[in-house]
Symmetry: C5
Subunit: 305 residues, 5 copies
């Protein structure tokens, strides 16, 4: 675990300096990233925020900010609009601007996924300047294998280059999806392909789904191919739907230590808990990701339940 | 009911100051918005403006302006073209520029809805500067779940950011629609999803249709999920087709006091009445929205009929 | 009949002054518009210009200019290309630049109509400046109900705003068309919807097809709904295919005096006649539109045949 | 035959002066244009350049330049890329930049034709300035009746206006094509429609296919309708596939003297011959087009074979 | 074999000078190009980088850079993102920026191929300036015969012109593909057509697949048509899937000496070997391409295995 990653090549010296500051801030000087994902209010509409298994706190978008401000997350990823509404009250959070989002209403069986960039990069620049928030980077989802792949790869490539030129990190959510991908979305070789693609885009982090074996079971060893393929682009796994906290930590530990990932991206597993539970859960993740603690050590931060 | 909403973050100080002035003007210093919707001449062509149940006054577009100038509406939403034709004679009205509109000719069963921005933001800026009108904000309709969702989300996001940078309010009409949505257009969970999406876009107000229960009946309690999901984005309900004035007020009272909405958006229910009736009706709505009066108190403003 | 229409709001004072001059020129200080339509060489290719019923003169595009220069038309609408070829010899004509055109080759049954703007507004501005021609305005055709409606409404809205900012009039040809419209193209309620839509776009004139009753017969009274819906946007009727001159005048008189239209747009009915006949025919129309003469009075200008 | 055509209206005086120089150069002061078409390496890939009937010389693209530099062509039309590779060695040739091209791989039965502009007009301007070549104009192919007609008409209209503003000629290849056109591609009335359309675009020359009668035979008289419809836009006929030199000259003579065309566009008929034959053939065409010679007189330039 | 190729016409003198320097660098002053292709991490995802036949080294993207820096390649082609991650450690490599890439997930049978430009040319310029890398040129893949051909030809043409204006080489990967091409992808006449098309685009090098005869066998003589058709655009063959080193050299020798190609583009054949083998293999290719050595001479550089 090293915090000495160098900035991307091909940007002005000042940008490189700002990028390094943002990298240190986002990785909490550990070189690993604990990204709290908060873009589901578009991606999943309100499905993730209400329900029998979901803490009542989660119905209010501010729940996300309350957690992110009290918990030691590396960055909190959300759409610029949410930040414009809540950011003033939570200036201490390191933010990642998620620049594209789509709803899950149109199913892949009906139409291949397309998610377009919302704000222009000059709007990003204005927002960063005028908000005074600690915006550490930008995020974008690509769907390799979609019929609309070309649009998204081009938009992502330009966004990354512009982000770096502003000194911002670039994180790519890479989800193979579409009729051509079919059931192979979480195939380990497919995911490795997506991770390698993200490296070619020049992103700093690739957020991928955890690969499954032929029986549909997660196996952290399967991540190895993706981590190798991504090279210097650091791989983090998406957290998926809510699960038992201990199992989550166990799985994360394996992803990092067996799979070679360098952090994690967690959304539902965090915000579907009550504020107190969520903060404890984040502390445990932080202990593991940033301080390299064991499952047992990290587990101590969990609220006893 | 509070009038102390803060401006969106991420815009210049001067813009924030103008935004606050526009917010106070549009909400009549109440923090609640009474939006008179006047965009149906495109959305519904002439269907709403003639007919046995429609006052003869309504055949003339100026009817809209006559009402809006004499009645205490928070803002009158219409296309820039109408304003360029009538605005000079009605400078006292607070206007909201509705920037996209489509006709209802192409049905959802034939093609998913797409509504594109008409004027560019630089044309908006020129119009505001040269017209001298009290333009308090802009409006845009999104159709989550449409096959063209990506185009509209991107255009809306950019419009909102630009509007805020000009000190203008941004109101999003959010109507889930398309083959993927089917009959769920007024499902309360779907509408909550749309309201949360609007918050992620950073709009100041989300205009949604009132949710229906499984039997297709309105129930103001069902709005609670949407109001929660929208967080600091204030939710207002569309008025729907014309109804009895008293029933309308009763329903609006429930939407506000049971559902938690913060105003209303009314079109046909206003302009399909004669000028005198419409003005009385608006006064009743204003009493309820801005002065928080009861159904009985507000009802006194209705023209006796 | 009044010539005191005020310029659109929202443009610089100088533009408003130029707009008023152009309005006076185009309406011949009558407030009514006699538009000679000369865009059919694209819209109908050569179908309108040769044939047993068509004067031999009409095979040559210059025929259009010869008529327009000798006859008292309010403006002659044609594509910029034709003006660049013939305008130097006919500087006395008030021109309207028709900015989009399509051929009739692809039928609506095969593909919904799409007509895109040809020259950019900055090319329009350059043309006006360098040609020295009396360009009074621009024209654009929209097809409400087409699957491509969104493209055309957006392009038209921007064109109108830019035209007004240059002091030019904006005339919209509004033809509901497409699979969703089917046989209702000339339904009076549909046409009223289109006319109201044009008002929302802010155009100065809406050119519509004359509505038909259920038996497919023209009845000028049916125009009333459209004229009311258009409000301050003035409605003029398209002339349609060639007809007997007297019948044309009778019909036009009814359109103006029973239907409330404020001028007419005539193409084939003019240019399919010999030069002498066409000029006489135009004088008759001018007498009726601009000088408010009766059918009998206007008929005196017709060449005896 | 006159060389006194005036420049298009609506461009700066300097541009008009350059346009006139280019017109004189391209028409060799005759007012008629002998255009050597060299865009088939894209349009027909290598089909036209090898084969039993094709001279071996033609396999090398330089063959085109060798001919064009030694033969008295009015202009040689080719893509900018070819000119960037060979132009330095052939500075004496008057060039026409063909700005769009497509392959013939996708057949009309599969998809309607679309050919998009390759270089931007600012790249054209840079090329003209930096190459020092005698670029007399630009060319563009439109396919009226294609499902993509709108894109091409808009692009062509803008290109023509920009070309004229640079003092360049504009030549439009106008080929009705697409499912809606079917077998009517060479119908004389259809071609006349295309020629008239080109006039509305404002091009200087329209290159059309020679019309066929009902039995599929060429008849130069059939060109009359197109020549009339094009008005001041001069019509030239495409040469078609290789044919006997004498027959070609006979046909060309008829096109000019019976059909009223003002030049010709020849590609395969020239370059599929050996260099010597091609040059002789061009001299014969030149004699007929520029010096108005008879078939017999012009025929003397043909290499005896 | 000559190193005296002249720069493209139509660019500023300074650009021409830089182009010549880049050409000399890329061709190692031989006039022939040994391009090491490293864009497969997108084009083939991870398929080329793992497997029983693939050296373990290849799993790591840095393998590509290790080879390219130690081996005498003319240029190493990869996406800008990879260069931004690894370029700082490998400043000695001459790079070619591959500007478009697509995955192979969507099969041609499902949808015709479309590959869009990733970074804008102004981003390319910024990258070149700020990276300090030896970027000798840019690359772009076109798919003639695809339903999306028009988009790619236009984008490629503009890219080439801009690249030359920056003094960069332009290499076009030309692969006929799509439903209209079917099984003719490696037909020699089809490939000749593609090569000629690339010349019309003005690229410096065309990278084509080796043509096959009717039995599906490679025959270097078949390249003659393509090399002739490309004229001054130099043709290099893609290497294809990994093969025995000696066979590769034999084939390359034939391509150059029988087929007339001027270099080669090799990807999988290089990087699927271990670092040592790959470097030896590259030395052999270099000996043949740059020093014109025989199969036997060049073979001496191969690691004995």
């Amino acid at each position: 675990m090293s915090a000495t990653r160098r900035p991307p090549l091909g940007i002005p010296v000042d940008s490189a300096k700002r990028w390094t500051e943002n990298y240190q801030l986002a990785t909490q000087e550990s070189g690993r990233l604990f990204l709290m994902a908060g873009d589901q209010k578009v991606e999943h509409l309100n499905d993730d925020f209400v329900g029998a298994e979901v803490a009542a706190d989660d119905a209010d978008p501010e729940h996300l900010f309350r957690i992110a401000s009290a918990a030691p997350v590396g960055c909190f990823a959300a759409q610029m609009g949410l930040l414009s509404l809540y950011g003033r009250d939570y200036p201490e959070i390191p933010y990642l601007l998620k620049l594209n989002s789509k709803t899950h209403l149109v199913k892949t069986a009906e139409q291949d996924p397309l998610s377009s960039q919302w704000q222009s990069m000059s709007q990003v620049q204005d927002f960063v300047r005028h908000s005074g928030l600690k915006v550490v980077g930008v995020g974008y989802t690509i769907y390799p294998g979609s019929a609309y792949e070309a649009q998204m790869l081009s938009e992502a490539a330009r966004m990354i280059q512009d982000a770096h030129a502003m000194g911002l990190l670039a994180v790519i959510w890479a989800y193979p999806r579409g009729k051509a991908v079919g059931k192979r979305e979480q195939d380990s070789h497919m995911i490795a392909g997506a991770a390698g693609l993200v490296a070619c885009l020049g992103a700093d982090f690739a957020k991928v789904n955890p690969p499954l074996d032929d029986q549909g079971n997660m196996d952290a060893h399967l991540l190895g191919e993706a981590v190798a393929a991504a090279g210097r682009t650091q791989v983090i796994c998406a957290g998926g739907s809510e699960t038992d906290a201990k199992s989550f930590l166990q799985r994360l530990h394996e992803q990092i230590h067996l799979g070679g990932t360098q952090g994690c991206a967690t959304g539902r597993n965090v915000h579907q808990r009550s504020q107190a539970d969520a903060i404890g859960f984040c502390r445990a993740i932080h202990a593991m990701v940033v301080h390299n603690q064991s499952v047992e050590e990290a587990g101590k931060y969990l609220a006893s339940s």
